[in-house]
C-alpha cells in the first residue's frame, strides 16, 4: 500500500446514503421508485409489521434484511482512504440480496447473503482485501445460519473471477484470519464500524 491506487475517488455525501435511521423524504425517494419491485424485501414491510405480535416472537431471532447488512458493511473503511465503503459506493444497498440457501427445503433456516462489490478502479489490487474485509465483518456479525457470497460486481474489475474464487474459498479465508499482518489491515478497516 505504499502507493495510493486511486488518489481521487468519487465520494457520496453521507446524507445521501441509505439508512433506516432517517425514515423521511429521502427514504421515500430511495425506495418508492422503480427499485421497489427489485428489492426482495421491502423495508416498509418490517416497519408496518406489528411489533407486539406475541410473546413467542420476542424469543425469535430478529429478522435481518438488506439494510441491516448494508449498515454492517458500509461503515468499513477503504484500506487506502479514511473513507467508508458506503461513501465510496464500493457497497450499495441494491447490490445486497438475502435468499434462502436451500429453496427445496422450506423449513431450512439457512440463508445466503450476496454482496456485490464495486471497486473504485478496475485494476485495484486491494479488491481482495476489501472483499475479505466485508466477508469477515459479516461472518463475525451474523448468526451462523447465514452463508456469505461476497463477489466483485461483474465487469467492474479486470481480474474479478480470480478475486471471486479466492473470496469464496473457505479454507483460504480461514487461513487469512490467522494471518496477523492481513488481519491487522482488516482490523484497521473496521475501526470505523459501529
Amino acid at each position: 500500500m505504499a502507493e495510493v491506487q486511486n488518489s481521487n475517488p468519487t465520494i457520496i455525501n453521507a446524507a445521501d446514503l441509505p439508512t433506516r435511521l432517517r425514515p423521511t423524504a429521502t427514504r421515500k425517494s430511495e425506495y418508492g421508485g422503480i427499485f421497489t419491485s427489485a428489492l426482495p424485501l421491502a423495508p416498509a414491510d418490517f416497519e408496518s409489521a406489528p411489533s407486539s405480535d406475541s410473546e413467542d416472537d420476542n424469543l425469535m431471532e430478529e429478522p435481518i434484511d438488506e439494510q441491516e447488512i448494508y449498515d454492517l458493511i458500509s461503515t468499513i473503511s477503504d484500506p487506502e482512504h479514511p473513507i467508508s465503503l458506503g461513501e465510496l459506493a464500493v457497497v450499495s444497498l441494491p447490490d445486497i440480496a438475502i435468499k434462502p440457501t436451500l429453496p427445496d427445503v422450506p423449513d431450512s433456516p439457512l440463508q445466503t447473503v450476496t454482496v456485490l462489490i464495486t471497486p473504485t478502479i478496475t485494476h485495484c489490487s486491494l479488491a481482495t482485501v476489501i472483499g475479505l474485509g466485508v466477508r469477515v465483518r459479516l461472518e463475525q456479525s451474523l448468526p451462523s445460519r447465514f452463508r456469505m457470497d461476497v463477489r466483485i460486481k461483474e465487469g467492474t474489475h479486470s481480474t474479478g473471477d480470480e478475486v471471486n474464487k479466492q473470496l469464496a474459498d473457505k479454507e483460504r479465508v480461514a487461513a487469512a484470519l490467522e494471518n496477523g499482518a492481513l488481519m491487522g489491515v482488516i482490523a484497521k478497516m473496521m475501526e470505523t464500524c459501529r
Binding site: 439457512l110 474464487k165 474459498d169 479454507e171 480461514a174 487461513a175 490467522e178
Partner: protein
Amino acid sequence: MSPKVAITHLSDLTPPSQERTWLTAPHPTLPIVATCSSDKTIRVYSLTNFTLLSTITGGHKRSVRTAAWKPHMAGESVLATGSFDATVGIWRRWDSYGQEDKTRADSLTATPSDTGTETPDREEDEEEWRFAVLLDGHDSEVKSVSWSASGMLLATCSRDKSIWIWEDLDDGDNNFETVAVMQEHGGDVKCVSWHPSEECLASASYDDTIRLWREDLDDWGQVACIKGHEGTVWFIDWEGEESENWNGPTSDSDSISESDLGALQAQWHSQTALSGPRLISCSDDRTVRVWRRQPKESQQNGALSSATTGIPSIIRPTGTDEIWEEDAVLPHAHELPVYAVAWSKRTGLVASTGADGRIALYEEQFVTREQEQQGDSDAMDTTSGDVLRTKWVLVGVQDGAHGIYEINHVAWAKRADRGSGGEEVLVSTADDGSVKVWTVTR
C-alpha cells in the same frame, strides 16, 4: 429419489472442540479417530464409547487442517498432522486404548480375568502422545496428508501449489527423507490420496484439476491430468479393491435374483479389472464425479488411431501416461460447495457432504436390460450388448446433519460400540466443532 437407506444419528463425540473442526481420521485398526481443530489441537476420541481419550497439543502454531494414520503399525500408533502453520507433525503413542477399555469393561462386569498385561509404570511414561518430528518444507498452509498403502511414503500438499513425497526411513530415529517435490499444479493443492495398493498418488487442486503421479526410473512425475470439474476440487477418494466384503454394484430391486446378481458382479469385475480402482472427486462446482482409467490395451489403440490422424507421436513419448475418463456424474444432491466424499471400501456406498450441511448417500446399481430399453436407447446403444452398465442412485439424504453448520468432512469407520460383524458408521465433522457418528441401514 428412492430413500432406501436410513441415516440415523448414533452419538456425538464428546466433549466437542469449541472451534471449527476440519477433518476426522478413523484409525485403520483401532476403534479410535483423530479430529483436527482450528484450536491448534488434535483430539483423539473413542468409537467404543464416543468420549475424548487424548488431546494432542503444543505442536502446531495454527489450525490443524488434516491428519492421517500410518497403516500396518503394530503395538504403536503413528499420526501425521498438517497445519496452516506450513508444517507436518509426526506423533507416536504406544497402543493401550484398547487395553484400558478392556480393563474398564472387565471391572464393570466384575469378571476378574487376565487383565494384568499392563504394568503400572508403563502407563505413566507412555500413555501420552510423543511428538516425534516436524516436517518442514512447505511455504504455506498444509491442506492434506496421506500415507501410501505400504506406509513407507507420506504425501503432503499445500497452498504453495506443491506436493511433497517423504519416505519414512523407519530408522528408529524418526528420520524422513524428501523423495520428490511436484509443482505442476496451478493452484493450492487441496487433497492428496494414495492408490489403495499401488504407489500411485492422486491430487486435487484449486486449479480445478485432478492429477496422478507415479515413479518412473527414480523420478516422480505426472502421468495424468484430469479436467472436468468447473471449480476447486476439494476432495478425492479411491474405490476399494475387490475384497471379501465388497462384491461390486448392486441391483435396485427384486428384478435381479441373488444368484444372478452374483453372476453380474463376477462379469463386472472381469470387465473392470484392467482399469483398476476408480477415483471419486467432489468440487466447488457442487458435483461429485467418478473417474476411470482407460485400460492400457485400449489406450494403445487410442494412441495408434491418433497416430493415423497425423498427430506426432512425440506428444506421448513414454508408456507411463494414463488416460482417465469421466465414468459418471453422481445425481445432484448439493446446493453449495461439496467439501468431502467418502467411498466405503466395505459396502461400495458413497457419502458426500459440504457447505449446505447435508449428507448424501449414493449407491451404484446395475442397469437392467428393461431399464436400458425404456431409457434413451440411442445413447445406450453406443456399446455392444454384453457390456454391463451401472447407474448411481441417490439413496439417502440427511439435511441439517449438524444443524445450521457447514460440514467439512465425512468418513466411513468400523462400528465399535457394539459387537456387530463388519457394520460401518459414518463420521461427520463440522464448523461448530461437533463430530457426529451415524449408522447407515437399509
